[in-house]
Amino acid sequence: MNEYTYPILFGIVIGTALRVFMLRTDYRQYPTYLHGKIIHLSLGFIAAALGTIAIPSIMEKEFTAVTFLTLAASQFREVRNMERNTLTEMDAFELVPRGNTYIEGIAVAFESRNYLVIFSSFLVTLCYLAVNIWVAIAAAVLAFVLSNILMSGSKLSDIVSVEHSELSFEGAGLYVDNIYIMNIGLPERQEEIMKHGMGFVLTPKSFSIRSTIANLGQRQAILHDVSVTLGVFRDSGTPALVPLIKRDLNDGRIGVFILPQVKDPERAKEIISAVPVLENAIQMPTKKR
């Protein structure tokens, strides 16, 4: 026991608790089970320890110890790779795949959460050693609040308005509103689609948003989220029953055609509105600097 024991313990506990707080299991399905969680909690603990010991090292004039942080950075980049690889492997077996953009978004989130843990542990230990425990507790609370803000990106409902729209056939062409989706030849298939299918139109709220929702990865994410939550009326080997999103080239609106197992337009609308806007899909064509 020395003067650094409690500050280090405090920093590690806060950092690990923060990682627990940021570890969400929801419809995105990962990490779902115990093992996935253990991996992330262990890495969170390591991140907390690395962030914490930087301060006592500096105080002991052991400046080289700080270079350990670079080691941490390369480790957590590895986390991103691990997530990307696992999810890409699994994606091949999904009826409606997530798509690479969504996977990359999840991988980035996992990496950045470890950095948030490092910064928070660094901060609370610094406050503990430089001032006192009360300031450190205040810093910890601040870290939790900030993490909560940084963790939540925007939702689709922030950038588009979602409206339910009837499906229709013109000959063999399937339409959502006036947006052409695909050619379905067999009358039998057309009946199935009219019975189980639902259509939605997403209208962008501003010009910049057009290119964001036109992104193929963002569109795939919408289909995946709806299919995961409402189920999907298809099986392998039924390519005619694939949910699709097509774009109106004139005004940038997006027509969503889905085949859920539970046909509930209100619920589907809620789900589409809550789809995260993928970081990698965001474009800002009107922003100059």
Partner: protein, 61 residues
């Protein structure tokens, strides 16, 4: 081998309209054409697209 965007077969009641390397299935009636196309769709993992009332193509996407 992974095939993308290929016409796997054509199902028609008017054979004179279709030529080329894809398998062409000639049918007598619209009902027969529907049945053959539905079967081919399932067997080939493709989608039956209607080009006209007399012609379906089975396409792999």
């Amino acid at each position: 081998m992974k095939m993308e965007k290929a016409i796997l077969a054509a199902v028609t009641t008017q054979t004179d309209k279709v030529h080329g390397s894809a398998a062409v299935f000639q049918c007598e009636t619209k009902e027969e054409m529907d049945a053959v196309a539905a079967n081919l769709e399932a067997i080939l993992d493709g989608i039956a697209h209607a080009l006209s009332d007399h012609l379906y193509i089975i396409v792999k996407h």
